[in-house]
Amino acid sequence: MKQELFEVQHAPLWEKLESELAEKKPRDTQFPQNFRTVCHHLALAKHRRYSPQLVDRLNALVIDAHHRFYQKNRRFRYQWLDFIVFEFPLAIRRNARFVLLALALFTLPLLVMGIGCYNNNELIYSVAPAEQVQSFESMYDPDAEKIGRERDSETDLAMFGFYIKNNIGVSFRTFAGGILFGVGSIFFLVFNGLSIGSVAGHLTQMGYTSTFYPFVVGHGAFELTAIVFSGAAGMKLGYALIAPGTLSRLDALRVAGRETVIIVYGSTLMLIIAAFLEAFWSSSAALPVAVKYSVGGCLWALVTIYFLFAGRAR
C-alpha cells in the first residue's frame, strides 16, 4: 500500500487518539483497542519503510498512549486509609528482623550511655560540648519557669517548624545512609542512641526528672520509633547489596527500595505527629506531671498495639 493511501485511511483514528490523549481523563472505552491498532500501524509503517516522519509521528503517539495505558494507579481516595490500617504495620512486621536489629542498635548505646552518665557526671562531656550540656541543663531546670527550650506558647508554632525540619531530616538521612552497605544507618542509630542516652542519664543524675521525662514521654512514642524504623529501612537497603540472594545486586536493591519506601512514608507520618505533640503538648507546663505520664503511657501502648496487631485481619 502506498503511504498516502495508508495515511488517508488511518489519519482520522490517529487524530482522534491524539486529541483524546491531550485531555487529562480519556473516557473512551475504545481506547485499549485503538491503542493496539495504532501499535499495529506503527509496525506496518516501519516494515513498509514509510517516511521517517510518519514513523516518528506514530511512534510518539504510541509512546503517549503506552504511558496512559500503563500508568500507575494514582487514586488517592481510600489509599491513605488502606496504608494506615494495613500496609504500614504489615511492612514493619514483614521486616521484623531489621526492626529488631535497629531497635537494638539504638537502645543498647542509649542504655549504656544513660547508665554511664548517671553514674559519672563527667562522661557526658565525651559526646557533647560544654555549652550544649549547659543549655540542656538550663532547659530542664525544675526551678526555671518554663521547661523545654526557653519558650512560651507563642513559640510553639516556631518549634513545630523546627521539629519538622530537623527530625524528619534526621530520619531521611538515617534511611539514606543505609545504601552504603548499611553503614550510614547503623552510624545514625548508634549516634542518636548515644546522645539521647547521655542527656537522659545526665539529667537524671542531676535530679531533673520531674521536667525531662514528662516532656519526652509523649512524643517519644512516635519520634523514637520512627527513627528506629528509618534505620531499619536503611539497613534493609544495605542488606540487599550485601546479600542479594538469587537476584542480581541491582534487582535486589530495587526490590528493597520499593518495600522500604512504605516504611519511609510511615515514619514521616509518625514524625509529623511527633512534631505536633512535641510542640503543642509536651511543652505545656500547666498540666500536672501525672497527666503527662498517663497520656504518654497511653501513647506508647497505642503505638505498640498498633504495630503488633494492626492489619492482622487481612
Partner: protein
C-alpha cells in the same frame, strides 16, 4: 564493541512489541541542571526568608517548614507533577523516568531524591558522580535503588516547517530509508545550496525522472516535501 560502550541509546520493548527508545543523559548536563535548580532554590529561600523574617514566630515556623520542603521535596513534586522535569532539567531538556520509560511515580521519585543524602557523601556528590560514571546508564545511587533514569526529552522536529514552496510529489516507488533521507535532506537544505548546485544534484536523477534543471529541482524537492508530510 567500543561503540556499544559509548552508545547512550536505551531501548525498552513493550508488551505490544513496540520498541521505546530514549537517549540517556550523562553527568555534565545533569550537574548543570542541578546547579540551576540549586540556584533557584537558594533564591526562593532568600526571598521567603526576607519576607517572613519580620512575622515573629509564625514567620519562623513558615520559613522552617518551607525550607524543609525545598530541601527534600522540591525535586519530588516537580518530577511527579511536571512530567519528570524540575526547572533545571527542563532548561536542559532532561527528564526523569522509570527504567521502563514510563513517567515517574511518587515512590520512585521519593526514593531517588531521599538517597541524594547518600549520593552527596562524603562531600559534593562525590559518591553520586563516581557511581554515575561507572555504570552504563549514568545512574547515581538514588537512581539505582529507585529504578529511575535521566533521559533527554526529545524536542519536536522544527526543521520540517521550513520547506521550499513547491507542490508535493508522491514518490514513484517505495524508497528505503537511506534514499528517503537523501530526498528529505535535499528539500530541507534548500536555503544552504546555490541554485546551480541544486540543479546539478537534481539532474543526476534525469534517467529516472526525465527532468532536468529547475523542473528536476522542484520535482526532487516535491518528493522530499511529500516524505516530510506535505500533501497537496
Amino acid at each position: 564493541m567500543i561503540q556499544d560502550k559509548l552508545d547512550t541509546g536505551y531501548l525498552v520493548e513493550t508488551p505490544e512489541a513496540i520498541e521505546l527508545s530514549a537517549r540517556l543523559a550523562g553527568p555534565v548536563p545533569r550537574v548543570l541542571a542541578y546547579a540551576m535548580d540549586f540556584t533557584i532554590r537558594t533564591i526562593v529561600l532568600l526571598v521567603i526568608g526576607l519576607t517572613f523574617a519580620f512575622w515573629g514566630n509564625t514567620g519562623i515556623a513558615v520559613i522552617l517548614l518551607i525550607s524543609f520542603f525545598i530541601e527534600w521535596l522540591y525535586p519530588v513534586v516537580f518530577e511527579v507533577l511536571r512530567n519528570g522535569q524540575t526547572p533545571g532539567k527542563k532548561a536542559l531538556g532532561l527528564a526523569v523516568v522509570n527504567d521502563d520509560l514510563t513517567p515517574v511515580t511518587w515512590s520512585t521519585s521519593l526514593v531517588r531524591n531521599l538517597l541524594r543524602a547518600a549520593d552527596f557523601l562524603p562531600v559534593g556528590y562525590a559518591f553520586g558522580l563516581v557511581c554515575m560514571i561507572s555504570n552504563s546508564r549514568f545512574q547515581r545511587l538514588g537512581d539505582l535503588a529507585a529504578g529511575s533514569l535521566v533521559i533527554y526529552r526529545q524536542a519536536a522536529d522544527k526543521r520540517a516547517a521550513d520547506l521550499p514552496d513547491v507542490p508535493s510529489q508522491t514518490p514513484p516507488l517505495i524508497l528505503n530509508l537511506e534514499d528517503q533521507v537523501a530526498f528529505t535532506g535535499f528539500a530541507q537544505r534548500h536555503k544552504q545550496l546555490s541554485e546551480s548546485r541544486k540543479e546539478e544534484l537534481a539532474t543526476i536523477l534525469e534517467p529516472l525522472t526525465q527532468k532536468s534543471g529547475g523542473a528536476a529541482v522542484r520535482y526532487v524537492q516535491g518528493v522530499g516535501a511529500w516524505l516530510l508530510g506535505r500533501r497537496q
